[in-house]
Point group: C2
Chain length 229, copies 2
């Protein structure tokens, strides 16, 4: 524990922070729709009683999140944000803490298992053929790198078939951290594999049930799961 156990509730909330919050309230609270215009910078500055500088800092943040779009004379309009834009900017393993990395590691495992919920609704013959091709290629692989590539290709193809772009992107962003944890913060090998192989999973996908698939995926990931505290 630190010397001061619980003091310092004051957080230096700067003007830009406050303005950002007010603007987000303004944008989300009202019945605004994408495409609607919002007041000019100078008007906002005057209305909020701050300098244009502060307003611009707040707007700059919202722009980064994709909540607004600004053009030179047109002014600013609301846009529907890219909910993962914030995430992708900080998914670098070594700027995160070990605890966060571990949670992200677990997050991916959860996604892999839960996928089945969508997979059996969306599965297609082409998707399965693609998976089979990867499995076949995997059996002829020699180097470790090739094996890892196949591993990633297989699971990417699964997400592809699940038909949820958000989950797919999210998982892709998780991967670098996942690999980092496997590489540096666990004692077993990346490609240690459970009693259920990729080939088994494909077969379940073809002829089995969602229940069987989740069971299979749990078995497939068992080496990872056993490592959890």
């Amino acid at each position: 524990m630190e010397a001061t156990p619980k003091i310092e509730p004051i957080i230096s909330t700067t003007m830009a922070d406050q303005v950002e919050e007010r603007l987000r309230e303004y944008i989300t609270h009202k019945a605004f729709r994408p495409g609607d215009a919002i007041p000019k910078e100078v008007e906002l500055a005057e209305a909020l009683g701050v300098s244009r500088n502060v307003v611009r800092e707040a707007l700059s943040r919202l722009r980064m999140l994709g909540m607004i779009d600004t053009k030179k004379r047109r002014g600013m309009i609301l846009t529907q944000p890219d909910i993962l834009s914030g995430l992708e900017r900080m998914m670098h393993p070594h700027i995160l803490g070990t605890d966060t990395r571990k949670q992200i590691f677990e997050f991916r495992l959860v996604l892999e298992v839960g996928q089945a919920a969508l997979l059996f609704v969306r599965k297609t013959d082409e998707g399965i053929q693609k998976l089979e091709a990867i499995v076949k290629q995997e059996s002829q692989v020699l180097t470790i790198q090739e094996k890892v590539d196949c591993e990633i290709a297989f699971h990417s193809a699964l997400y592809e078939m699940a038909g949820n772009e958000t989950i797919k992107r999210f998982q892709a962003m998780l991967m670098p951290v996942f690999e980092y944890v496997v590489e540096y913060e666990t004692d077993h090998d990346f490609h240690t594999v459970g009693s259920v192989t990729h080939r088994d999973l494909v077969n379940i996908l073809k002829n089995g049930t969602p229940e069987e698939f989740t069971s299979g995926m749990l078995k497939h990931l068992e080496p990872h799961l056993l490592r959890l505290a």
Copy 2:
């Protein structure tokens, strides 16, 4: 289709955008650790050949994401970012598109099912007792609102027991969107429930296996899953 099929590859990349990117590269590429100091605003401005204003807009974004922390005379230091800070700012149902909302809806279903991967590693007696208390309370409930509250409480308690703060927070952020979709964009009731009840899930958690739990959760969520296209 528009009149011009493929023109307009130019994206007005502003100075602040570029500086933000450069700073992120600078922060992530090097072997920096949380706590390390980064150059002063004026130094950055001079080094990058832009005004201090632009640098501050970029820094303001990184500060929002929790990547840096600044104090009055101390300067700026790297911090380990809160990976969900960006997300929570835009999880408002009505500023998202219907497609995004649907994907978030699915995302939660996937998490619910995949949870089992962690749940059986982390389950505790106290957690199960808490779940049982909720189930018991649920059986005596009268109004719809109370029923919904129990629903939320039950699933929150599950995430609590899973012991992954990131997933728990993430799920909590998903919920408003999930409820919105159920309320306005599906034709069945919120509390339509599958053939497996909360009580069944608790029993599986006590005496069953992860495989049985995922199966049970799939059944529990079946009304939602059947609605997916």
